[in-house]
């Protein structure tokens, strides 16, 4: 299993760009990197997924260097409603992405006014 390491917490202010980095040194060839967001007492919500280089969608970007040993979730111009826990998961997308790579210690992002 690819173990992931993320900062425990981060603080930011409204309107700033936030970058959360996840380390996954033993990522396997078939593994994808997926990020989820979770608000208190709610189920995690898919944000973005990637394999290499850069992926962008309407809410975030995901940067993955060539060695794939880390990844960075970028949230542009955060707002108070982005205050949540963010999880980085690494796993085989074909089989079960989350089943083989359980949710590790996420990053609690606090956005301040």
């Amino acid at each position: 299993l690819a173990k992931t390491t993320q900062p425990i917490s981060m603080d930011s202010y409204e309107g700033q760009e936030v970058n959360i980095t996840c380390s996954h040194n033993n990522i396997a060839t078939n593994d994808y990197i997926t990020w989820y967001q979770q608000f208190p007492s709610q189920g995690p919500r898919f944000i973005i997924q990637g394999y290499k280089t850069k992926v962008t969608n309407e809410v975030a970007s995901l940067f993955i260097p060539a060695d794939r040993k880390s990844s960075t979730l970028s949230l542009p111009r955060v707002s108070l409603s982005d205050t949540a826990v963010y999880y980085c998961l690494v796993g085989d997308r074909v089989r079960t992405n989350a089943g083989k790579s359980t949710f590790g210690d996420g990053t609690t992002l606090t956005v301040k006014p």
Binding site: S41, Q42, P44, R93, V94, G99, K100
Partner: protein, 112 residues
């Protein structure tokens, strides 16, 4: 769009009782997952099913069992409940080859 439906949303049980949680995945999703999230903790993977067969097993206690039925809904059965079983239980579903999990709103179990 249809989401993952979990029931009941809240459940209160006494120690040593039995509880059953139900999950109705998004239509046409072939994989169902169960997670347990204790207070202040991260979601812990319990078990998953692909096409009604168990596909992966995580930290599910022997007192717990689960199955997926012919209509793809899944049930998590918990027996001999302990105080430490009090948690939010999430069900998620996905299409096997996408890796994108859709979570339900969870079932909050309180064991007294």
């Amino acid at each position: 769009a249809a989401g993952v439906i979990q029931s009941p949303r809240h459940l209160i049980k006494e120690k040593r009782e039995t509880a059953t949680l139900k999950c109705y995945p998004i239509p046409r999703h072939d994989t169902v997952y169960w997670y347990q999230q204790g207070p202040g903790q991260d979601p812990q993977f319990l078990i998953s099913f692909y096409e009604k067969m168990q596909s992966d097993k995580g930290s599910i206690p022997d007192r717990f069992s689960a199955q997926q039925f012919s209509d793809y809904h899944s049930e998590l059965n918990m027996s001999s409940l302990e105080l430490g079983d009090s948690a939010l239980y999430f069900c998620a579903s996905s299409l096997q080859n996408t890796g994108e999990l859709f979570f339900g709103e969870g079932s909050r179990l309180t064991v007294l």
